[in-house]
Symmetry: C2
Subunit: 173 residues, 2 copies
């Protein structure tokens, strides 16, 4: 049987981008945004210095991990043809930082399986795990919406919602 | 009618990687490799300092252009859904250099249409222009083999061979 291709996003799925926006915001203003301010909205809409922070050295390189991702991805990697597909070309500084971040936290993923892109409509596979509707909406296979503050209040729009990496494991292993 | 997706490689198709290996070699040893030494072989097999040069700052950023590519790609971009897909994650330094190089020479290509990857088996589209069999062999659509010294002596293995950007234009416009 052909091994299924599993496509996994980085920000908001493996890397806790929302928490990294909080950390950078707090470092500068001393303030964290309350959950009700960020729920349902893209981070760049709500974090007042978000556009600058996402272009700051270290933003992607030092991003915290989402709980359980590393352990579960190592298991999934044994069962699936795993590719990491991350939107990154909008922020050129993020490119090398993302590759280095993956090398540190996910050393079992070879460079051949890393894709840094703009629009994700060009990738094809069997399963996609992503936190953004715009990426899942264009994908032909099974689509798992990974819960993040920005998508939490919204209807899952026909995609299957997963709230944690444990839940991903229950579905895919 | 749906616009067809055209996938175009960088090194050996838009950027003259082979000439860049010659330039870096000549700068160091004062010698250019004669054509008969490089025909039919991957540049990294034949250029004695190739592995170091491909990891040197500026190798990708200052790569010369392949003749006619810029003008033809601008025309093709009006007719096709154009994506640039380049193998780059093996050499992390190349990532930002490639995006900057595209921005300088092909400013009409937005970041959404740039893909930096490892294996190209993950991208799907209607037409692929590439100089490497390993990329074309995995592609489902029309495959154009762009002639380069490393592939010139070989049979085109079922792919359509194109010797220049003019020839690409005659086929696709």
């Amino acid at each position: 049987m052909k091994v299924k291709r599993l496509i996994v996003d980085m920000d908001g799925v493996l890397a806790d981008a929302c928490e990294q926006f909080q950390i950078f915001e707090e470092r500068e203003s001393g303030r964290r945004l309350p959950l009700e301010e960020i729920l349902g909205k893209h981070e760049l809409e709500v974090f007042p210095r978000g556009h600058a922070h996402v272009r700051s050295p270290g933003f992607f390189r030092q991003a915290p991990l989402i709980a359980g991702g590393r352990e579960m991805l190592e298991k999934l990697n044994r069962r699936y043809e795993l590719f990491i597909v991350s939107a990154a070309t909008e922020f050129p500084l993020s490119l090398v930082e993302k590759v280095e971040w993956l090398g540190e936290h996910f050393p079992f993923i070879p460079w051949q399986r890393i894709v840094l892109c703009g629009s994700k409509e060009i990738v094809c596979g069997d399963i996609m795990i992503d936190d953004h509707f715009k990426n899942l909406d264009l994908f032909k296979g099974l689509r798992l919406l990974f819960t993040q503050p920005h998508n939490r209040p919204h209807d899952s729009r026909g995609h299957e919602r997963v709230d944690s990496w444990d839940e991903v494991g229950r579905l895919l292993l």
